[in-house]
């Protein structure tokens, strides 16, 4: 069957089986590997994509159930072929080690900041409690997000 979606701003029609998840279609059919496969039960946050602007676990969305909605993956954040400022902040602050959780972290943060522009650290911590990172201990991720929120540029 055909699944329709607006993927990173482009209308797409993809041949899918009913028992495929959005995650499988993104990675296996469309080759979008910035979406990571983790737990397959919606707990880890590695497969986060934005569905109509809200973070969802793509492992828990059946592909045919996308029903034409807007899907944004990490590469949808690209600015003029370069990194998004939040990605740059992650690089500057050492918020990336193995990188497996990073796409989910970035998308979750950006969706959250749409609703709350200037959150404090505790609020950010709560906003990210559904995204697991096994490397950084979260401190540098929070540093990076805070720097981005403050609008800091450069190599600080």
């Amino acid at each position: 069957m055909i699944a329709r979606m607006v993927l990173n701003g482009r209308q797409r029609e993809v041949e899918v089986r009913p028992n495929q998840t959005l995650l499988e279609v993104l990675r296996d059919t469309l080759g979008i590997f910035d979406v990571k496969q983790g737990c397959d039960e919606g707990v880890c946050g590695a497969c986060t994509v934005l569905l109509d602007g809200r973070p969802v676990s793509s492992c828990l969305v059946l592909a045919p159930a996308v029903r034409g909605r807007a899907v944004v993956t990490l590469r949808g954040l690209e600015r003029d072929g370069g990194l998004h400022p939040l990605q740059e902040a992650f690089v500057r602050h050492g918020a990336v080690q193995c990188g497996f959780c990073t796409p989910g972290m970035l998308l979750t943060v950006l969706a959250f900041l749409e609703r709350e522009r200037y959150p404090d650290r505790e609020t950010l911590r709560a906003a990210l409690e559904g995204n697991l990172c096994r490397c950084t201990g979260y401190a540098k991720i929070l540093d990076a997000v805070e720097a981005y929120v403050r609008g800091e540029q450069g190599d600080g």
Binding site: N19, D40, V43, P55, L60, A65, F112, E129
Partner: protein, 287 residues
């Protein structure tokens, strides 16, 4: 995932006809936050998945003080809706504890109730609120009280060809509220979840007290004996502590891989006391 057919009916009648035709071999897909993990792990093997998210069951309305919530209302709507905040704020507090932000983006009220995890927040909240579930099948409609709806672990009074269409919550205009939960990690189901509602009359005595618990039995339960010792009494700390003690004494929670029954029981007493104390403060306007 095992293979299955996928149907996305556009009307309630079409959805109900599909369920009538396939009965036990069909599973209803709403937000998918419980069903899809079961499919991913091959624990559920339906022949047909009936996606009901295209049906017009997503409304939030207020009717004579009663809050009416469509079965497809998503958890994030419970967190964000002004009508919910005004008419049933305890539901907003309960919804914030559900899973993680991604679960709340897609998970639905009707889905959570029909899935009936004994530790889930919304079944406990609906039990405290004396909610009524409107249920439909191809052959008729009926209403089931929340207290009769949950019949065991992941088991409800729904027949295989029925779905929840709406939830109706009676007005609790003067009630203070609190939800207390202890979970091992953020986003986990609570080991124990307590929902408390308390109202105070003009003399400053407790008029109505409701206490519902999740995670302590095979379904959400009301602590009726604890409610009884509060009604008509002054809402002082000693009375609240005694009521919590009575709630605890009457529980016999199961043990599982995450916590022993004894620990859950202890936790239930502590959380009941905290929830009642906070609901009292809320009712008295001191919070």
């Amino acid at each position: 995932m095992h293979p299955f057919e996928y149907a996305a009916p556009e009307t309630l009648d079409d959805a109900l006809a599909l369920l009538r035709a396939h009965r036990d071999e069909a599973r209803v897909l709403a937000g998918g936050q419980s069903l899809v993990p079961l499919l991913n792990y091959r624990l559920a093997r339906p022949r047909v998945v009936v996606d009901i998210t295209g049906l017009p069951l997503g409304g939030v309305g207020v009717d004579d003080g009663r809050l009416r919530l469509g079965a497809l209302v998503r958890h994030h709507q419970l967190e964000e809706s002004d009508a919910v905040a005004r008419h049933c704020p305890v539901l907003r507090e309960a919804a914030r504890l559900i899973g993680n932000v991604r679960v709340r983006a897609l998970g639905t009220l009707g889905g959570s109730l029909a899935h009936a995890d004994p530790a889930a927040e919304l079944p406990a909240a609906m039990t405290a609120l004396d909610a009524r579930l409107l249920v439909a099948s191809a052959t008729g409609r009926r209403t089931i009280a929340a207290r009769e709806f949950f019949t065991g672990p992941l088991t409800t009074a729904l027949a295989p060809d029925e779905i929840v269409t709406e939830v109706e919550i009676p007005a609790t205009p003067a009630h203070g509220w609190a939800v207390e939960q202890f979970a091992r990690r953020a986003g986990d189901f609570g080991l124990v979840t307590v929902v408390a509602l308390v109202s105070v009359d003009r003399r400053g005595r407790i008029e109505d007290a409701r206490l519902a618990l999740g995670g302590v039995a095979d379904r959400p339960v009301r602590a009726a004996a604890a409610e009884d010792v509060l009604r008509g009494e002054e809402p002082i700390a000693e009375r609240v502590a005694w009521a919590a003690e009575i709630a605890r004494e009457r529980l016999d929670p199961p043990s599982d891989a995450f916590a022993s029954g004894a620990y859950r029981r202890l936790l239930a007493g502590v959380l009941c006391r905290r929830a009642l104390a906070r609901a009292v403060d809320c009712a008295l306007g001191t919070r």
